[in-house]
Amino acid sequence: MKSNRRVFLKGSMAASAVGLAVGAGLLTPRAVLAATWPEKAYNTKGFDESLSDLFGSAGAPTESKDVTVKAPDIAENGAVVPVTIESAVAGTDNIAILVKGNPTPLVANFKFVGAQPFASTRIRMGKTDNVIGVAHAGGKLYMAEKQVKVTIGGCGG
């Protein structure tokens, strides 16, 4: 049962990637107003690839106590998992949220221009996994993770 579901998710991934490409094409002229969406980083299936697409050659993240990931121990519904990421690393200018086991690991990223390196939101998780917070400061990456047990996955239907 569970393995069937994963296969379905993988199959539908390819289809959605095409849709995304079309959407991004339509978006280009509007990119003047808002920041651009790093499409490659969000569409890749690899954790390391997402990070290198997003942050360039910042290298692998080192674990740090200065990055805090707040999330529940058990999430009954994987479609709504509250997550708070905060960084105490000096000079943090970007924070990313990732879930390795999701079809695409990168969930969201926040670039801070004068705001506090803090972001709280609600995310979807396919299965029990670690929520990873990555902070970018001074050209280096720092990370922290927290395991969340998911009873019902929230990625497909």
Partner: protein, 101 residues
């Protein structure tokens, strides 16, 4: 009627901005039960929070953010400052809302 709801509380020189956006955040992976076809992806890609027209946070979201996204930021500012939230979806739809702290 804007799709963006905002609540701002002041704490010293920091504004705590809590926002709730009405958006389906369709992942493109869910099947429509009636037709058996995949519901096309429709989600917020970029979002900016600015204080007095100066950008404070630039966020990129994806399909892994829950439906009707709730997002909480802490931006610099004081009472009386204008906070603006703007977003754009993958289908090119956008909305903005401004509120005074």
């Amino acid at each position: 009627m804007s799709t963006i709801k905002m609540r701002i509380s002041t704490a010293g020189d920091v504004l705590d901005v809590k926002s709730l956006i009405q958006q389906a955040m369709e992942s493109g992976r869910v099947k429509d039960k009636a037709t058996g076809k995949l519901i096309p992806a429709d989600f917020i890609q970029t979002m900016t929070v600015s204080v007095n027209d100066k950008t404070a946070v630039e966020a990129n979201l994806s399909v892994a953010v829950s439906k009707n996204p709730y997002i909480n930021f802490k931006v610099p500012g004081k009472k009386g400052d204008k906070v603006t939230i703007a977003y754009t979806t993958n289908l090119g739809k956008s909305d903005t809302a401004t509120e005074t702290a």
